[in-house]
């Protein structure tokens, strides 16, 4: 071991690398909040490892995408766990990177000399959000399809560029095979490359510029503006002074980083193992009843759209994120005061509180809003889906009610499948008067609906069994056949 180390050291100067990277002195009194960036990096590695493995079992074609996800869930060893880790890891990465941005903002670490690294960080934030946006289309389930339909439609409301932007995102005018392929290519090829490159640059800059010191140490006796010609010299002196505590990157910083990273990964693993990752019914472009809800981190925008009148919608949907992004990009060039402590920067404090409170309020409001009913018909066959489409197109809901929706002229059909067989339902729809002479329901037999259509409808209705776990219990009686 020792001789291997010596052999390598003579060639690549391991000692020098250790001295420059691990033994470098860091500012004193670094907090646990400083671990958020490295935790984001760790979660990215977790996403990379699980993502590459998931990719070996995934098919990015609408024909097979959903089936391949089911295959991962059911057939691949640890498949459900891997999807769970990747799913919760995605949320964790968004939480961590936003928390990291907030910390950097709060201690004014984007100010001189770290303006460039702030921009790289904003780039990383955008890439992480792009990862989530492209990632949740891949399972090709209802949520994937409809949330992406809405997301791309929002982009379509952009003034002037809207139409081109939608076509660009979807690879055509409609959401389909080309969309899935390009989302997958971006999610699994372009974005990881981009993220890796930006992260490398981000870390190189942190090593070159050093970890940002606590605000107070850089404020005493500082010129009022970082644009002041005297500021760089002041900064060098003040920053060097913070390093006199003898703290080194390893183990003083890296040890804490590792502890927080481990806690985060254990939490992700536990969530993934306990809850797995959701998979709804397969994407069904003909289903007009599905109410898509975005991932929680897009909820503020989602909720905001509900609160504004229609004509302002595109201004909000496209304008707010664009304005936020622009504000982040301009921030280090606009805010050049040398004050770093958040409590002494009233405008910054007010903006942060406003954005956090606003997002929190909107997420809370979205959470309190009635949840779209979960699709209990997760495993509808293609025949049953065709039946559901007929139920809608024939406006059966005008008289009948399913799961609380529809009219009350006819009987509630929420659990009709538990009470009658498909065969009985078929006969009934065909000619209700055969069963109840006084029935007000019109006959749907040919030519109104073909026998195949009635069968599709009957198959769909017989899949409705009300509360789960109810064993169907039929009391079907058929009228005596009429003698010819």
């Amino acid at each position: 071991m020792a001789s291997l180390f010596r052999w390598l050291d003579e060639r690549v100067n391991l000692r020098g690398a250790k001295r420059d990277l691990l033994d470098r002195e860091v500012p004193d009194r670094l907090t646990w909040w400083h671990t958020l960036g490295s935790a984001t990096l760790t979660v990215f590695l977790v996403q990379l490892i699980t993502g590459v493995t998931l990719a070996t079992y995934y098919s990015s074609s609408p024909d097979h995408a959903y089936e391949s996800i089911q295959f991962i869930n059911r057939q691949v060893a640890s498949g459900m766990l891997l999807r769970g880790i990747h799913h919760w890891g995605a949320s964790a990465m968004v939480v961590l990177i936003i928390a990291h941005v907030i910390r950097v903002f709060a201690v004014g670490a984007y100010k001189y000399p770290r303006e460039i690294n702030w921009l790289v960080g904003v780039g990383l934030l955008v890439v992480v959000l792009a990862f989530s946006f492209t990632g949740y289309l891949l399972p090709w389930d209802q949520k994937a399809y409809w949330a992406t339909a809405v997301g791309t439609n929002i982009a379509g409301t952009t003034p002037l560029l809207g139409g081109a932007l939608v076509a660009l995102l979807r690879g055509g005018s409609e959401l389909g095979a080309a969309t899935l392929a390009r989302f997958y290519a971006f999610h699994a090829l372009w974005l990881p490359l981009l993220l890796t490159a930006l992260m490398a640059l981000h870390i190189i800059l942190v090593v070159r510029q050093g970890i940002a010191a606590r605000p107070k140490a850089l404020e005493d006796g500082a010129p009022g503006s970082t644009a002041d010609p005297a500021y760089p010299a002041y900064y060098r002196g003040a920053y060097a002074a913070t390093k006199r505590g003898g703290q080194r990157f390893w183990p003083d910083v890296l040890g804490k980083d590792a502890i927080v990273s481990a806690v985060v990964v254990i939490a992700i693993f536990a969530l993934g193992a306990a809850l797995g990752a959701p998979l709804e019914a397969p994407a069904d472009p003909t289903d007009t009843t599905y109410i898509p809800r975005p991932e929680w981190y897009f909820l503020p925008i989602y909720q905001l759209l509900k609160l504004v009148p229609g004509s302002f919608e595109s201004a909000i949907a496209v304008g707010v994120p664009t304005a936020l992004l622009l504000a982040l990009v301009c921030l280090p060039f606009f805010d050049r005061g040398s004050t770093r402590n958040l409590l002494h920067r009233p405008l910054a404090l007010a903006s942060l509180v406003f954005i956090l409170a606003g997002s929190g309020f909107l997420i809370g409001a979205a959470g309190r809003a009635p949840q779209p009913k979960s699709d209990s018909s997760a495993a509808l066959s293609s025949v049953e889906r065709a039946g559901r489409a007929l139920y809608q197109s024939q406006q059966c809901g005008g008289c009948h009610r399913i799961a609380g929706e529809g009219g009350d002229i006819g009987p509630d059909l929420s659990d009709v499948g538990a009470r009658h067989s498909a065969g009985w339902i078929h006969s009934f729809i065909e000619l209700p008067s055969r069963f109840h002479a006084e029935s007000r329901m019109p006959a749907y037999g040919p030519p109104t609906l073909s026998h195949q259509e009635i069968e599709e409808l009957a198959q769909y209705l017989s899949s409705l069994e009300g509360a789960p776990g109810h064993e169907p219990h039929y009391y079907d009686s058929f009228p005596a056949p009429r003698s010819p």
Binding site: V46, V76, S78, P251, G255, A258, A262
Partner: protein
């Protein structure tokens, strides 16, 4: 900063780096590796009994070929393949059923009536029609026999494929 508690703290942080870091990566690596490697360890096969026809209809002098469509779950894709087996019997009671693929490289061999042998057209391998043993050519092993059963006068064979081009009969 080189006081005793600081040294203690650093020793703890050194260990924390090693243990925390490896734990974090292991938690992602182990399930990934398991998922990735699992196909290499999967060793279960469900029987696939193919109905070949009434047992008394098979010719006792010449072998009979039966084609059938095999629906196979290829991961998340259901694939239908045309397969065939050759049935050989001398008494109409005891049957030998051969997998229809030549053991050399998997071509479909045929019955050569003139020579009364199975002949594979790809590289001219010859097999005995009763035992399946190699009579000539490159095949490394006899034809692959399948398990058979007769139930209610119907002949069934448990269809499976074996690895090609090697001397021993190993299931794929």
């Amino acid at each position: 900063m080189t006081t005793a508690p600081a040294t203690e703290r650093r020793r703890f942080l050194r260990w924390a780096t090693a243990i925390g870091g490896s734990l974090a990566l292991l938690l992602a690596f182990v399930p990934s590796l398991r998922a990735f490697l699992s196909p290499a360890f999967r060793r279960k096969r469900s029987e696939k009994w193919i109905r070949l026809g009434a047992a008394d209809q098979f010719d006792t002098s010449v072998p009979t070929k039966v084609d059938f469509v095999d629906t196979e779950n290829d991961a998340w894709v259901a694939i239908r393949r045309l397969r065939n087996v050759w049935i050989s019997t001398t008494d109409g009671e005891h049957f030998t059923v051969f997998n229809g693929r030549c053991t050399h490289l998997g071509c479909n061999y045929a019955f050569d009536k003139a020579a009364n042998v199975f002949r594979c057209p790809c590289h001219t391998g010859y097999f005995d029609i009763k035992t399946g043993s190699v009579l000539g050519g490159p095949p490394p092993r006899p034809l692959d026999t399948l398990s058979v059963k007769v139930e209610d006068g119907i002949l069934y064979a448990d269809y499976q494929d074996f690895r090609l081009g090697i001397a021993s009969k190993v299931t794929v």
